[in-house]
Amino acid sequence: MATDRSPASSGSEPPVTLWGRLLGEGLVLAAIVGWWLLSLGLPDYIIPSPWQVVEGVYSLFFDPVKAEHTLISTLRVLGSVVVATALGGALALLPRWFGFTDLIVHQRIQPFLSSFPSAGWAILGIIWFGNSTPSVMFVQVAILTPFCLVNVAEGLRELDRELIEMGTSFTRARRRVFFKLVVPLLAPYVMAAVRIAYGVGWKIALVSELFGADRGLGFLMLEAQILSDATTVFSTCFAIVLIFILGERLIINPLTRLAANP
């Protein structure tokens, strides 16, 4: 069955052959060499050299002034992912507790949030809350919530009804059934929501920092673009790629494994 899968969730990988690995790493090497050759013939404000970008990425992690931007963006994205997952999860669970809210959630709130353009939230965020971290977080949460809502709702639809029925035949305590059965069964879907929200947070929701922030990687990127500082724009993009991969490997993947085998 076709699914509206996000790039955040990919299937299991087959073993990599020697030629396959050579081709894969060869592509990376060829891309770096091609980039370097291109940078030799073009000014820095269009294509900086790979070495300049490596230095830029290093400074984004280890230069105290620039690292502050990196840290703030990371904390904002992580905070927004947590809030959006909680909010999306609560909205998805609402029809389970109050049946009459089913259409409110799935035919009013979800389509509204899913179709709302991210730049629209960014502009409204700055009009409503001004230049501040709450403004940035509001925009990010507004962008991420529908992704979480859709995933958790999908999990609720897929819940093993017979297992829940069996659980309720052993105990009538709804709270016990919820925490002992529904939560563990739902955990993989919640983690899928976290994974998608984390990806979208870095890829799309960073737009919030272009308008409503005076710190953060989005702000830094825009400032660099205005100053024709392509090195910083490149460095920031690569720093985001690094943080994204590190976050997936160090936080999301272990949590996903934990959710799959509670």
Partner: protein, 258 residues
């Protein structure tokens, strides 16, 4: 639950949804009474601006420019994504290159980054906007279509290969129809995400389109226009998804026997 109870519950749910819409509009109107018009214009002011939007050919033209950007970007990203997903399918040695290196890189690269870099490389024009949106959509296409290729019925492919060895014919008559549900899922996801990123790309890298209009409205504190554009986008995205993609996708899934 009896049939009567189900019907009653469904009626209650529908009534609650309509009441929710009314309550939302009422809350919006009340809030609009207490704050400055540029912070939150009331529903009526936005409706008037919406009317003005559709009676001004120049503004409608911006809307069509955005449609063009999105259709162009979806077409490009789909073609590139499909080609990249097919490469490891026919040449398994490329699997690590596409799914282990290229796709994760594209997938983790910031959409804003593509937009700002495209402005530097191509200037402020249609190419920048379409390029930025396409770069965000391509990994979605690769991963969705890979999912389709991974889920192909191996026995069906084997059987069809025993009837005909012509690869082009097998692709056209067996593989492509088997992939239809995934192709539509990809187009559906791409279309939804494209609207999310298109306005940002037009805002920074476009000289026309709804995003460009957004930027002008933002600079002029014309919040009714900002909200009018948002309403147009929500209405368009929602109705396309509900009345075009969803029925088409479920029809194709039905054909496939899912």
């Amino acid at each position: 639950m009896t049939i009567d109870e189900t019907v009653t519950a469904s009626r209650r749910s529908r009534l609650a949804a309509h009441l929710f819409t009314l309550a939302f509009l009422l809350a919006w109107w009340i809030y609009g009474q207490f704050v400055e018009a540029y912070v939150m214009p009331g529903p009526w002011a936005v409706a008037v601006r919406l009317g003005e939007f559709f009676s001004d050919p120049a503004m409608v033209a911006h809307m069509f420019v955005s449609f063009g950007h999105i259709i162009g970007a979806v077409a490009i990203s789909f073609t590139v994504g499909f080609a990249l997903a097919l490469l490891p399918y026919y040449l398994p040695v490329c699997h690590h290159m596409v799914h282990g290196r290229l796709s994760p890189f594209l997938n983790s690269f910031s959409g804003i980054g593509w937009t700002l870099l495209a402005v530097v490389w191509f200037g402020i024009n249609h190419v920048t906007v379409i390029f930025a949106i396409s770069m965000v959509l391509t990994p979605f296409a690769i991963i969705n279509l890979r999912e389709g290729l991974d889920n192909l019925d191996a026995e069906l492919l084997e059987m069809s290969a025993s009837f005909d060895r012509n690869r082009a014919r097998l692709f056209r008559l067996v593989l492509l129809p088997a992939l239809y549900p995934f192709i539509f899922a990809t187009l559906r996801v791409s279309f939804g995400v494209a609207w999310k990123v298109a306005l940002t790309a037009e805002l920074f890298g476009g000289s026309s389109g709804l995003g460009y209009l957004f930027n002008l409205a933002r600079q002029d504190f014309d919040t009714p226009l900002v909200l009018a554009v948002i309403i147009i986008i929500i209405a368009f995205v929602f109705s396309t998804d509900r009345f075009v993609f969803a029925p088409l996708q479920s029809r194709l899934a039905g054909h496939r026997g899912d």
